[in-house]
Amino acid sequence: MGGWIGHVLAPTRYLDAASSEPLHPAARETLLAALDAGWADPRRLHHPARSARLLLDNARAAVAEALDVRADEVTFTASGTEATHRGLLGLAAARRHVGRRVVLSAVEHSAVAHAAAWWGTPSEVGVDRVGRVRPDDLVEDCRGGDVAVAALQSANHEVGTTQDVHGVMELGLPDGVPLFVDACASMGRLPLPRAGAALAGSAHKWGGPAGVGVLVVRRGAAWESPFPADDRTDHRAAGFENVPAALAAAAALQAVVAERTEVAARQHALVDRVRAAAAAIGDVDVVGDPVGRLPHLVTFSVLYVNGERLVTELDRRGFGVASGSACTASTLEPSRVLAAMGALTHGNVRVSLARGTTEADVDAFCAALPGVVAELRA
């Protein structure tokens, strides 16, 4: 058992926090303590159950405080994807009588795009070269009287560009169309947008455990369960609550929010170094907004190079990165995000810094990259 785990955990400079951030120390500590105290059914009335219920309520209150929302607006789900499904489709279900059209940006996460297609007729709004939606375009596309819900992410998960969610709300969506905000890429790292009828987040992206999503449904928003109901502690959730994981996710979120000013400034500057190093190679398309972006993430595409070979070669040298190129996906289709932006889709690398990523890690990556590219282009 120990040997098997040791084999998996080879030393790597991990630069893929956008896929999953390593567990925050605050989450680990809380998780271990809560495993022994939060296993019972929080709906029952006996002592162990009341203990579990107390921990769940504490988790909800802590998440609400960290996000600056009300505790009764917070629901724990089994994943960010489930939070997205329940958020987007719950708003749509409350407007069945209006229509089945779902307006979404062309760069939404596939969880949003798949949910929109499953529910009704998706209507995509294009983006500019850095991947940003013009609020006017989104608002215009919501006219017609047949739109159930609109979706706009807080920030893009592949290229880091932030979206003008507040701009959309200032313009106002027509006919009472509610806005769903997928905040999975930014939750904890940036303040939650003070807009949107429902929002979703994913704990393993901020250093909480996997298997915890956060759904925020604003007070007063019309929301109806799009799936079979359940009789749990929270009418927006289904299934037995993972109380220890929810509490650990809450502890990590509080810790990340408390330290984010310092961490974001450091990461923003380190990502600038990666952007500069990639651009200096030549024939490299550095993608996304250089300033209005997530602090920890950058994507670039290397002309004439196969993305899968690039990822593999970097891994061989000890750097763990992701790629949106078609050859690294299960289909021949390249990243919808890169395609929608008009960015080069092959030779793509996404670098995203974890909380523990050091200046030395980033400088080692910047030093290794030109040699790897030259080798693969030869």
Binding site: L303, V305, A326, P334, G342, T345, G347
Partner: protein, 78 residues
């Protein structure tokens, strides 16, 4: 179908192979002439225009070869 001074048959190739072919051979035509890239890889639809942007060449658009394969047209600017 638009006449191209050079036709690159990239059927069956996956990206970046069609773009490597375009990069290697587009200078074989005179400035102002057109290179046609015939490619069935879906990534070519995005990567041929992206290559044109990065290399300062004119992307003229997409049409179909006789067998229905997408054919992407690039005018050499320099």
């Amino acid at each position: 179908m638009t006449d191209g001074a050079l036709e690159l048959d990239c059927r069956g190739m996956l990206c970046p192979a069609p773009i490597i072919e375009l990069g290697r051979r587009h200078a074989e035509v005179a400035v102002g002439s057109v290179v046609a890239v015939v490619a069935d890889d879906p990534a070519a639809r995005y990567d041929v225009p992206a290559w044109c942007r990065m290399k300062g060449q004119d992307y003229l658009g997409e049409e179909r070869a006789d067998d229905g394969t997408p054919r992407y047209l690039v005018r050499r600017t320099g």
